[in-house]
């Protein structure tokens, strides 16, 4: 049984943005200090998946949904082996989790994993601020990190923290060793998946379709990829600035040259963009949520999709582009802001999307993309 004083008695905490705006609340999770890029996520469900998504590495996530932690923490829903967010900002943390699968409270989990957070602040005001001013560096301070320290000093610390632009982070979050996710049921294909920060659901979605997935480290070379004798190659999501991902871009070019069926998600989409010669750029405040309308321009249909990206590919929407690997087009677009959400090559089997068809958290509308990958591999085999 929890008591009322649990949240209220927690230590004061302060959130300091690099432009000087300050929010005062109470510590949530671990007490201490943390720095990162402040981003907001508008998903109303799926905090466990969000927290454990490696793409959130070095980011302080602001939840726009006010109540967080209601369903506690279970052992099935995490997308990786640990919490990756650098800090966590919520308005009203649950005092008591309630769900038949819950094993422990989110608060305890955050403490256990040493994630510093803050609660009780006007998260909507913070979100609006980030929307208007753009994602920026932030620090959260509580306990000794806060006590007796002047706001100016805290702000100076925030300004010392590294920027997201130019950050090469994939290797920090990806697996160090190759591992295999076996196919569920009969094995039909082998896929080499380059882990740039892969979520657990992605290989699972492939495994469900009879794919044996060899998850390779971010530093994998083309030789490593072809060593598993793949029917297709996959490039995952991941944190950081795609402009720094020269290694994966080189590997992808090698795959494209061999015309092996290729599928990329999120960071993988940006890498395909770069491999084709498009630029990438940082969005003002990114897409993070599970309600984003994306149109599949090949069918005209709209899917509601899960997003987590701060960067995007700069490719023309209105025409087919000539690339070193033949013609390419923007296959998917976000209807909210016309951001490129997918690319496909017209002359060889390769495509990618900026959003998350594996969902987790999020709607399953785009799961068909995994089928599309299977179709490409089938066609190649035929």
């Amino acid at each position: 049984m929890t008591t009322s004083t649990r949240g209220a008695a927690k230590a004061p905490a302060v959130l300091v943005l690099e432009d000087g705006r300050i929010f005062r609340g109470r510590a949530y999770g671990a007490v201490g200090e943390t720095f990162g890029e402040a981003v907001f996520s508008t998903g109303m469900t799926g905090y466990q998946e969000t927290l454990t998504d490696p793409s959130y590495h070095r980011q302080v996530v602001v939840m726009t949904a006010p109540h967080v932690g209601n369903t506690g923490v279970n052992d099935e829903d995490p997308e990786s082996g640990r919490i990756w967010v650098a800090g966590y900002v919520v308005r009203d943390p649950a005092r008591l989790p309630s769900n038949w699968r819950s094993r422990r409270s989110l608060d305890d989990e955050l403490v256990k994993q040493g994630v510093v957070g803050i609660s009780g602040i006007d998260t909507r005001a913070l979100t609006r601020h980030l929307r208007e001013r753009g994602a920026m560096r932030v620090g959260i301070f509580s306990g000794e990190a806060w006590q007796g320290v002047r706001d100016e000093a805290l702000l100076a610390r925030v300004k010392e923290a590294p920027q997201m632009e130019g950050a090469d982070l994939s290797a920090e979050v990806a697996t160090k060793e190759t591992y295999v996710v076996p196919a569920i049921g009969e094995k039909k294909f082998t896929v080499a998946a380059v882990d740039l920060g892969i979520k657990g659901m992605t290989p699972h979605r492939m495994a469900e379709r009879g794919i044996e997935v060899h998850v390779l480290p971010a530093t994998a070379t083309a030789e490593d990829v072809y060593a598993v004798n793949p029917d297709g190659v996959f490039f995952s999501n991941g944190p950081g600035d795609p402009a720094t991902a020269d290694g994966p871009v080189a590997v992808m070019r090698a795959v494209l040259e061999r015309r092996t069926p290729l599928f990329g998600i999120c960071f993988g989409n940006q890498i395909l963009g770069r491999a084709l010669g498009f630029g990438t750029y940082k969005l003002k405040y990114g897409h993070r949520g599970i309600n984003q309308p994306v149109q599949d321009r090949t069918t005209g249909k709209v899917e509601v999709t899960a997003h987590n990206h701060g960067f995007a590919v700069d490719a023309p929407l209105d025409r087919i582009s000539e690339t070193p690997f033949g013609r390419a087009e923007v296959s998917h677009v976000c209807l909210n802001d016309q951001v490129v959400e997918g690319l496909q090559l017209l002359d060889q089997p390769a495509f990618s999307v900026q959003y998350h068809p594996e969902a987790a958290a999020g709607p399953h509308d785009a799961a068909y993309l995994f089928d599309r990958f299977v179709t490409l591999m089938e066609a190649e085999r035929a």
Partner: protein, 1102 residues
């Protein structure tokens, strides 16, 4: 692909009168849809019998038929208008059932009318329990999830009894097919209950079909609102979680959006099932709502039902998210796709997304059990609430406490100071879901119950239970604190505590707490409902308050008028008041003001973000209104606050607002007092030389007895300051007077009881009028069909008055003017008169928009509420005449002789209520209002208009067959002529012995039938009650017998309700019905739109 080009005109069917389970939400949905269709350039033809709706305002559609929603009348409209398409998904079950029946009769095919929004197959798949089970099975085969509760379909009592064994025993759920709002369904715990519930269900179901189901009582309950377009794009607009677990109709549950206790995996599973269902059912273009139950122990998901149309839940979801479901459904129906429709609130993003909420919405139901003391107050799967309030907060506790105080009902808020009671008794009480169970739970918590005990007794999810504990702990902290320090005060406000609650806990006055709070700078901010959790900038100022950091109210330059709405619908204060508020908003916007609406009723047009320039979705308490006025005063100039259009709720705030320095426009609080206070009003009448029935006020039985002795029985008694005749009764003797005073909780030294002489046999007259300080505009004079003593809201009435002459109108006008002047009205006034003998008595005056304003406005084609709003802000009647808002000359008292006759008929909720023994409740009308809604019949002659009103309210009057007559002695004389007419029209009369004797002596033949008390005859002769149940009676006339001898009548009337046989309970209604039957038999009943009526009227006026 944009809109279809093959549809030029569309017929929209409304939902008819407000009844339990089908209320103002369909006015909101229908109004949105009609406006959209019209804006798209289609000719919109509307049929709706409910005059109190914005939807039936002549400017909303191109041709507005205030005619009965029956296949017969709708066919006449189709034959006349020849629409290309029919949109049946916006008028609730009424519209859907009417459309299906027209399809089955081949009418649609005959006239080449295409059903849009939903096809017949989809409607049947969604609504037919057996077919829907097949849908769920098909979905499970496809996606692997979702199942139906185990169930059996039954068509007879034998099937039902066998079915229980198949399901493995009691308890079982009974659900009749094709009924509205779950009518007739319930839980059966044993055979006796099963026979009763299933028997009734078989009768109620138009297909004589009920479903028996395994019990999933106590499971978690969820709803999803979905939309689909012709390209198969599907979005889930909103998830709703019920605070009350399975077993309580969702309309009677406290509900929360978004869902609070689902992980993403569980939520996505519901979403997958929902999408698969909408596809499988085949809702091509439009919305649907799907209900789920989840086993809290293992997550097993059961699909309960779906509605292939907009619903109460979709209205709630629209208000909760800012995503206008009905509006978009209308666009999809004419060919647009979701990605082609812009999101109004962001303007930049499309409607093909799913709203994200950064706040919590709580809806709480408003019940009216106090009106039906004999009804069983247990909440079941049959909806019983008459309205609802919605509140928005940044967390659950804040939203919940705001919702509870929005209900505006004694005891609806958590009481943290009163005596607690015994924990075990309270926990036991909380097992039974009732109105206010949440308060019982809070008492149990205060009495020391643990979270586990509360869950065990109620099955309310532990997360919600913990939130109740949180509220209670804050109350404890408030009580224990040495002083109200700012952090504690802010914390309490963040969890929704009102100043009044804090005052109660601290033993202070509410205004003192407010002063302290303001001094400490603890004030709410206003956040925006923006559909997207602040991801994009919102263009629509749709606000809610929260104790948070940053306010989003933008500055403005135009002067604002703040209009206070009427809060949750309840009996006596319903959609009519919303109508007036919406009109005020439109009129004042046209006049150059920035309009600001304040209301907390999610069903209404007033809380559509499109209606006013700004919307505050807030409770209508003094505290909440003062804070809004403060916020708007900071934003720009405030011209005033309008309190006289939203009924008693805002009127009751008038004086306190003025005392707090708020500019109340229109009739002043002092004038309101002069009309509402007996003594003050008496002086107004005396000065004007107008008679009122003898009366007095008392605070004790002795006082009341002395008054009654002086003026003579029967007397009309009631508490002061009530609306809808709450607690009003005709008392025939001293004994009842004593018990009335003893029972009444509303009477106290500050709230005396009013004792009036009761005018037997008087004609009651209602007048709506405008007064600007110098000139009176008589809006309309309504003559009641029932005699005085029946609440005006429950009485049928005719406009223009059918038996009053020019001299009477002159007297009414003079009296109305004298009162309006004496009271000091600036705007609308409603006065009730009684004509007894030749004396015109003044019964009461209400210095505000009345329930009849929309009816009067439609009957006379003059927008009275708009005019009232303008007068409130300084316009004169003369100016409004010059502008053309009011007629150049004449008024509602000088209607041309060939003006159409409009009849208003009240609609009663009898069939919804049962007593604890499962019997119906009595249907006799009285001085306490109990109707939930009204219809209007309009035609060139009274008889036809009356017949239409009956057809709209209860189903068509019979034109032949068997009529049963049993009347009280005092009615026997007046019954003779109408009875003779019935015979002339070919009716066969049946009567109880006493009535039959009188009829025979007057040369009218009537078969004597046995009373219920006489039992079945020796040769198996049936009693009248059996005859009614067997469908052998087509018309019932049964007037109550004063105080005694009611029981036989009670059985007759409840049987009539159960079998839907027209039942007239006054002889005046019989006389009117005879005229109606006469009109029907002449066969010349036509249809005519309001626009045509108005054109005719305006031509006649000029």
């Amino acid at each position: 692909m944009p809109k279809r080009t093959d549809i030029q005109s569309v017929l929209v069917i409304g939902s008819g009168p407000i009844v339990i389970g089908q209320a103002a939400e369909f006015d909101y949905s229908g109004t949105q849809a009609c406006r959209i269709l019209k804006a798209e350039g289609l000719r919109v033809i509307l049929v709706n019998s409910n005059p109190a709706t914005i939807m039936t305002d002549p400017e909303i559609a191109d041709a507005t038929y205030v005619e009965p929603i029956t296949p017969e009348f709708v066919e006449k409209i189709i034959a006349k208008e020849r629409p290309d398409a029919l949109l049946p998904t916006l008028g609730g079950q009424t519209a859907l059932n009417t459309a299906i029946s027209m399809h089955e009769q081949g009418v649609l095919e005959k006239y080449g009318v295409e059903l849009i929004g939903a096809n017949v197959e989809a409607i049947n798949k969604g609504e037919d329990r057996d077919l829907f089970k097949g849908v769920v099975e098909a979905v499970k085969a496809k996606i692997g999830y979702g199942e139906s509760a185990r169930s059996v379909i039954c068509h007879s009592m034998d099937d039902v009894l066998k079915g229980v064994d198949t399901l493995g025993g009691y308890p079982v759920v009974v659900r009749p097919s094709f009924t509205m709002g779950g009518a007739g369904s319930g839980f059966a715990h044993d055979e006796e209950e099963l026979r009763r519930i299933a028997g009734q269900g078989l009768t109620l179901s138009p297909t004589t079909e009920v479903l028996l189901e395994e019990s999933i009582l106590g499971w978690k309950e969820y709803e999803l609102e979905l939309m689909r377009d012709k390209n198969d794009n599907v979005v889930v607009v909103c998830s709703i979680e019920n605070f009350d677990p399975m077993g309580v109709h969702t309309g009677d549950s406290i509900t929360v959006a978004p869902s609070m206790t689902l992980t993403d995996r569980e939520y996505q599973r519901l979403r997958d099932i929902g999408i698969a269902i909408i596809r499988e059912v085949g809702v091509d273009t439009g919305g649907c709502n799907i209900q789920f139950a989840i086993n809290p122990d293992d997550g097993r998901v059961i699909v309960i039902e779906m509605n292939p149309r907009v619903s109460r839940s979709s209205a709630l979801a629209s208000k909760a998210t800012g995503f206008p479901i009905a509006k978009i459904a209308a666009k999809l129906a004419i060919g647009y796709t979701l990605d082609e429709v812009p999101n109004d609130i962001t303007e930049k993003t499309p409607a093909s997304f799913e709203p994200s909420l950064d706040y919590v919405v709580v809806k709480a139901p408003r019940f009216a059990f106090e009106k039906f003391p004999s009804a069983d107050s247990t909440l079941t799967t049959t909806m019983k609430s008459v309205g609802e309030a919605m509140a928005i907060g940044r967390n659950f506790t804040e939203a919940l406490q705001k919702a509870l105080r929005s209900l505006e009902k004694k005891g609806s808020q958590f009481d943290f100071t009163g005596p607690v009671g015994d924990k075990d008794v309270l926990l036991d009480e909380a097992r039974r879901p009732t109105d206010g169970r949440i308060n019982t739970v809070m008492y149990a918590i205060r009495a020391g119950a643990t979270q586990e005990e509360v869950f065990e007794s109620t099955k309310i999810d532990p997360w919600f239970v913990d939130q109740l504990f949180l509220s209670k702990e804050i109350a404890d902290e408030l009580a224990a604190a040495e002083k109200l320090h700012p952090e504690l005060l802010a914390e309490a406000k963040r969890h929704g505590f009102s100043d009044a609650q804090i005052a109660g806990i601290r033993g202070l006055r509410e205004d003192v707490v407010r002063e302290v709070r303001h001094a400490l700078g603890v004030r709410p901010v206003y956040k925006t409902v923006d559909t997207c959790a602040a991801e994009f900038a919102a263009k629509t100022p749709y606000f809610y308050s929260s104790y948070d950091e940053e306010s989003e109210v933008a500055p403005r330059t135009k002067p604002a008028v703040i209009i206070l709405g009427s809060g949750p619908n309840r009996i006596g204060q319903g959609i009519e008041f919303d109508y007036s508020c919406v009109h005020a908003s439109f009129a004042l916007s046209d006049a150059g003001y920035e309009t600001v609406m304040v209301n907390c009723n999610p069903e209404t047009v007033s809380t559509d973000y499109d209606t006013s320039d700004r919307l505050y979705f807030e409770p209508l308490t003094l505290e909440d209104v003062l804070e809004i006025v403060h916020a708007e005063t900071l934003a720009g100039p405030v011209a005033g606050v309008v309190v006289q259009l939203g009924g008693q709720t805002p009127l009751g705030l008038a004086q306190a607002l003025k005392d707090n320095g708020v500019p109340v426009v229109g009739t002043s609080p002092e004038a309101i007092h002069a009309a509402e206070d007996r003594g003050a009003f008496g002086r107004v009448l005396a000065e004007a030389g107008l008679p009122a029935p003898k009366h007095g006020t008392a605070t004790t039985f002795e006082g009341a007895k002395a008054i009654a002795d002086e003026i003579g029985y029967p007397v009309l008694v009631r508490p002061s300051y009530v609306l809808g005749g709450r607690g009003m009764e005709i008392v025939y003797d001293e004994e009842r007077l004593a018990s009335y005073i003893a029972e009444s909780t509303e009477i106290s030294p500050t709230r005396p009881v009013l004792v009036d002489r009761f005018l037997d046999d008087a004609i009651e007259i209602d007048v709506d009028a405008l007064y600007d300080g110098t000139e009176l505009y008589l809006g309309g004079v309504m003559e009641h069909i029932e005699e005085a003593g029946i609440h005006s809201g429950d009485s049928a009435c005719a406009l223009p008055p059918i038996t009053l002459g020019g001299f009477d109108i002159k007297r009414l006008r003079a009296s109305t003017e004298a009162i309006a002047k004496g009271v000091g009205v600036r705007g609308l006034i409603n006065i009730q008169f009684a004509m007894a003998g030749d004396i015109l008595y003044v019964l009461e005056a209400n210095p505000r928009a009345s329930r009849t304003v929309p009816f009067t406005s439609k009957a006379t084609a003059v927008p009275l509420a708009k005019a009232a709003a303008r007068i409130s802000l300084g316009a004169t009647v003369a100016e409004l005449r010059a502008e053309g808002m009011l007629p150049k000359e004449g008024d509602g008292g000088t209607l041309p002789l060939d003006a159409p006759i409009s009849v208003k008929e009240a609609v009663m909720p009898w069939s919804r209520f049962r007593d604890v023994h499962g019997r119906g409740v009595d249907t006799v009308l009285g001085p306490e209002m109990r109707s939930t809604g009204e219809v209007m019949g309009i035609d060139s002659v009274f008889g036809t208009a009356y017949a239409k009103s009956q057809a709209g309210a209860y189903g068509p009057l019979p034109t032949k067959g068997r009529a049963f007559i049993s009347v009280a002695n005092r009615d026997k004389r007046t019954m003779i002529f109408p009875a003779r007419e019935l015979v002339a029209h070919g009716f066969e009369l049946m009567a109880t012995s006493g009535t039959a004797e009188v009829l025979r002596r007057n040369g009218i033949n009537a078969t004597v039938v046995r009373k219920l008390s006489e039992g079945e005859g020796p040769n198996g002769e049936k009693t009248i009650v059996q005859l009614i149940h067997d469908g052998e009676v087509d018309l019932i006339v049964n007037t109550p017998y004063g105080t005694g001898g009611r029981l036989d009548g009670y059985e007759i009337r409840t049987a009539a309700v159960a079998r839907s046989v027209p039942c007239l309970t006054t002889v005046q209604a019989l006389a009117a019905a005879v005229q109606g039957i006469d009109a029907l038999n002449r066969g010349d009943v036509g249809v005519r739109s309001l626009q045509e009526h108005a054109e005719h009227l305006i031509a006649a006026r000029d």
